[in-house]
Symmetry: C2
Subunit: 240 residues, 2 copies
């Protein structure tokens, strides 16, 4: 009796993926579409067409919309429908401010965080370099996201991790508004490597300094490109 109980206690934690609802499945699907850019920013998602295509009722589809709306991947306009979020230059600034708030203190406190979390940062860099070698630009971008996710994870809060994932997902939308996945990610790989190196050597301040300039230049680059684009397409595109 007690023997079996002990065995049960030793069993792996409830890592068994719980059965997910239809709404969550559809939300997962749409999320990847949005993040991967298959659904471009600004596109409207018709309830009727999507419910027919994915064979779910309009009601469950709407549940999925609510989930993704809360993640800022979709925006809901009353009586007009849901659209893939199209970030503005103001959003870009806010996103980078949020990243500064999350990533910099996490890096500064890296000395007190477990070694495997620092290793996770390193493996993200490795993955990025592998992707670069294979000229897989999209995977390179994903690895870059993973890198910054790993940086925020140094803080050790699951809630912060989730928030960071959202921030990065929304950042991907920024890259989709202007489409330049390769040119924007390429020069940052070496930077990531340097940041990880400093972290591994326990020099958190250097890592933080590098990260600061990284974020600053990246933001400046994006914002200028964005503002130019916004000027160009003023009233050219429909003002969703």
């Amino acid at each position: 009796m007690t023997a079996t109980e002990d065995h049960i206690d030793r069993l792996p934690e409830p890592a068994l993926s719980r059965p997910t609802s239809q709404a969550e499945r559809v939300a997962d699907l749409l999320r990847t579409f949005v993040i991967d850019g298959e659904l471009a920013p600004g596109v409207r998602l018709s309830e009727e067409k999507l419910s027919r295509k994915y064979e779910v009722s309009r009601n469950t589809l709407r549940e999925a919309f609510r989930l993704l709306g809360h993640e800022r991947l979709l925006v809901h306009h009353m009586h007009r429908g849901v659209f893939v979020n199209r970030p503005t230059s103001e959003d870009v600034r806010d996103l980078f401010n949020a990243r500064r708030s999350l990533e910099l203190p996490a890096v500064r406190g890296a000395a007190t965080s477990p070694a495997d979390r620092v290793r996770a940062v390193g493996s993200a860099v490795d993955e990025g370099e592998r992707a670069r070698a294979e000229r897989d630009w999209w995977r390179m971008g994903s690895a870059n996201m993973r890198f910054h996710e790993a940086l925020a994870a140094l803080a050790g809060s699951t809630r912060v991790n989730e928030f960071m994932r959202q921030i990065l997902a929304e950042t991907r939308l920024v890259f989709h508004v202007m489409d330049a996945p390769r040119e924007f990610h390429d020069p940052y790989l070496k930077w990531n490597r340097r940041i990880h190196l400093a972290l591994a050597e326990g020099d958190a301040e250097t890592a933080a300094a590098e990260l600061t300039t990284y974020l600053d230049t990246s933001e400046r680059q994006l914002v200028t490109a964005f503002v130019a684009m916004e000027e160009g397409s003023r009233s050219a595109r429909p003002p969703i």
Copy 2:
């Protein structure tokens, strides 16, 4: 022509509160109930009863559930329903880690943030002291939350602000699990005052140091109380 256009440009931004959907209204209602403790942690929210009580269909109610589930105020169990989230001691730790990540760097960077944001911190303290004078313990708790919200807002990111609001809303649940609104908030008022004073004087490091000890002691106090409670009610309460 151009004259009228100019006038229009000068008009206040679209601060006009958009018409909200039924689902959002219900979500707002339920949110206040959960935060105010009228719906205790662990309570199950019956779709049938709630839809009848608030005169909305089950479908729109479920949309509201999705919204609140994403805010971690409700938890959704497949085929079992939604429950008011009941945080564990592990959640308490995670919440405080998240707050450390958000509040401390915001305070440290207070020198570069606008003066009105620092004033907002001060007015939250004022409000807390007024509430204390009137022995309105609940409002005192709210003011304390506002205080920390204002601290995080020093960072100047709307996304961080919203995240912080969620974190604090969830923290209220922690206070509801054990119910001691007065004793827990009372000693912290003086602390808040000191933190704001240091901020107003431009001494960000002192403010950060005070905040650190504040968070540490608050967390320790809550966690110990929590663990004791969890030990006591092991398998007494149904393991939702």
